[in-house]
Symmetry: C2
């Protein structure tokens, strides 16, 4: 496999995550070619033509560097030959080149980044370069491989959970991923937290299909995209907050039309004691805004397992947010779910208000509905487990049935999350009164229930908001 | 300056961006201490106790490594002493340690990440460690520095632009930043694209207050946060799309309550030929969702200059999106703007529909309003230059005046951007009919007007949407 890198981008940390992993996993079939032409967009790069700096770094990161004159065809040929024979290490060809070489007017000159030559200059360039020619240089190519595992479907037996049993959705993800191993081309990778995301169940049972990327989330994404390109079905997991470290890679995966599955655990203030640095509170906003993304947020282990099964066959960037804590199982193992669907978990002909939650806040909505029922206020409760695509029909029906009275509750900052998804979906025919409960200030560390209380997204806040809405205050 | 790093995190590319910049800029007053205890959250780290791997990498990245036994007090003392005398290079103390050392039940054992000892174990640990003691080890500390530049306000003379002159907002940013140099503690940094973001105007005039971070956006953010902590007022710029590379750093800057200013140029399909990898189409969603963030999106150079002035005094994470192309100057140099404000740029008593845009789409809204006027449809036009905080009052008045008929146009993916900001703001009392024009499919490369046409956010699409709304279809 060949990969071409510019010299400016060698300043990116992600490049060194890639060299590190290539070295660590001894990817001897990988050859990287670094074009060291000295000139970045704005001027000279950090290290110009000091190829020795690159050589020492490449070596220290476990790869085999070959420094050549990038204009010397014999040297190029020899380097590609060496790349084939090098064993146990990726090869990195550090090619010193001159930008615009052979055309004296721009050769090694600044100011030509991303610019086309004007027609007259182009003509002079062709002339100086010896006229129109067709040069073809053949070098030793890497062997073309084929996927180690064929793309086939296997019979998957999903885990099931008993109603009312308390099982965290992250645990259900681990169980379901293990079950998905029956599909031979499912592979998994994790950022050194598989004992928290529960990807370790798959890792232990199928070590040959699991890739430990350690704490290098950009490379976690890059690995998933690479696996997708090679025909595998990757599931990459880490804490939901840590996917923010790889946001550009997720963005580029969307643009590259890759098919990858991301599972982020430990979302929201619900994680409790670990504090705000570990709480994903902007993941729904940032992931919803990715081209081709699907965003799922289950509340129950049977639902999680069913959705994980659907993720395996879903194209694009498919994100699932899982929860740290264990909450009662709401659905039976035969309940069906679909991407783009939702569940009306409480309803009656007398519904006065609609409560919308997903994940942990669905449980808060259900507790609130119980209290409201005691106050003779019938509440419809919607489990909005699919945020993108979203179930517009069910939302519209609920809005109509409860005279436009809606309370939306999310364990997320107020911007771009569940409320935005609902409001965008209903923009053309909006509900009359929406109350939005979300995490509006910086959370601290504490017990999950303390933090949900402090954020104003607990059952009691939902009860208060719904009561006020129904009373028309 | 001391900084403490765990060994697991040495797999992060951002760590190597930091070592690289520390070495490149010869930060000899920086001492990093690496705690190499071998154990990550899930098990052994990538390189365990192989301190030589770390030593070679540190050396190759331009820093001065000292490998020590992290439990040897004399060695620690000597290392800190060496750190003071090392000149021209940052020092990195690579301390080999044993996790849980001194308590045989957990010493060097896996499975204790982030866990407190149960009370009985804690008692046995104290006993085995020799009882309750108060140890204090004094080592050579780095000299405490003070900011090179005092925090004072200078008289700023902002650049001004003539009405109808075509000036890109990114150019106005560069001009305004240069003017801000009159404030001594304003500093700037850029990710090797200052000739595009126009931060180069400041860089050329004040090289001692400009920091070239090259293409390492995580370090760009880290530098801005560090400068903020040291009492400077940092402005960091790159292409808006490339801030996604540093999203976790922005998130953490928000949590750390840093005061930084980010300016992202070349946003949306408007950039044209460079293609989707360079188009920020999710920046408004992702930046709005950051704790303590402010999100600004000017359409005009006089407005840009005024907002850049306000950014200098604004706390939190202040983001401005600028535009590549040049559009007519809409406002005079004496027009006032405020963070959280908006401008009603067209209005009459007969307004039938409200058009909301910001940045380039405001210009499209104005062109649409002209066409609509010819069709005898009076349109109110709102310049929503402040997306967070947002001007709820003006939005409500417009919604009321135009009977809830609103067209929102954004050069952004449909999720979490301008429409979401408006809908969230009006959730409790929503407008009756909102039409939302946004970039709904993957853009290609082309001329700006071609791409805006393809996305359905041009004046003609606004005209069509507004006409349909007014006709009640």
């Amino acid at each position: 496999m060949w990969t071409l890198c510019g010299d400016s981008e060698l300043a990116e940390g992600s490049i060194w995550e890639a060299f590190d992993k290539a070295g660590y996993y001894q990817l001897s079939n990988l050859t990287a070619i670094l074009d060291i032409n000295r000139l970045g967009q704005r001027g000279e790069t950090e290290y110009g033509w000091t190829t020795d700096t690159y050589r020492r770094r490449i070596e220290a990161f476990g790869c085999f560097p070959i420094v050549i004159d990038g204009h010397d065809v014999t040297a190029i040929d020899r380097a590609f030959g060496s790349a084939l024979s090098a064993t146990g290490k990726p090869t990195v060809i550090i090619a010193k080149t001159v930008k615009g070489k052979g055309f004296s007017e721009i050769e090694n000159k600044d100011g030509w980044h991303g610019k086309a030559l004007p027609p007259d200059m182009a003509e002079r360039a062709i002339k100086e370069l010896g006229g129109v020619r067709n040069l073809k240089v053949k070098v030793a190519k890497p062997e073309s491989g084929k996927p180690a595992i064929a793309h086939t479907d296997g019979p998957v037996t999903l885990p099931t959970y008993k109603k009312e049993d308390k099982v965290a959705t992250r645990k259900a993800y681990g169980d379901a991923l293990l079950a998905l191993a029956a599909i031979p081309d499912v592979v998994a990778m994790d950022g050194e937290v598989s004992n928290s995301t529960h990807a370790d169940e798959f890792a232990k049972a199928h070590p040959e299909r699991f890739f430990e990327i350690f704490i290098a989330e950009q490379q976690l994404l890059a690995t998933a995209v690479g696996m997708s390109v090679c025909g595998y079905r990757p599931f990459a997991s880490t804490f939901a907050a840590f996917f923010s470290r790889a946001y550009d890679f997720i963005r580029m995966a969307g643009i590259s039309q890759a098919n990858i599955r991301l599972v982020g655990s430990h979302a929201g203030v619900e994680i409790g004691q670990d504090g705000p640095s570990q709480m994903a509170l902007e993941d729904l906003a940032s992931l919803r805004a990715i081209h081709s993304s699907t965003v799922l947020y289950p509340s129950d282990p049977n639902q999680t397992a069913k959705l994980v099964r659907l993720m395996a066959d879903r194209e694009g960037i498919v994100y699932m947010r899982t929860t740290r804590g264990a909450y009662p199982t709401l659905y039976g193992p035969n309940e069906t779910f679909k991407i783009g669907g939702s569940k009306v978990v409480r309803q009656s002909a007398k519904d006065k208000v609609t409560l919308i939650g997903a994940g942990v806040t669905l449980h808060n909505c259900l507790a609130a509905a119980d209290t409201l029922a005691q106050k003779k206020i019938a509440a419809r409760v919607i489990d909005l487990y699919s945020l993108k695509p979203i179930d517009v029909k069910t939302l519209k029906e609920a809005a109509k049935a409860t005279r436009g009275r809606i309370v939306i509750v999310e364990d997320h900052y107020p911007e771009g999350g569940i409320a935005a998804a609902v409001l965008e979906a209903l923009a053309q025919d909006p509900p009359a009164h929406v109350v939005h409960l979300a995490v509006r200030s910086l959370p601290t560390s504490g017990k999950p229930e303390e933090l949900m209380n402090a954020a104003g997204i607990s059952a009691k806040h939902i009860v208060a908001a719904a009561t006020k809405l129904v009373q028309g205050k």
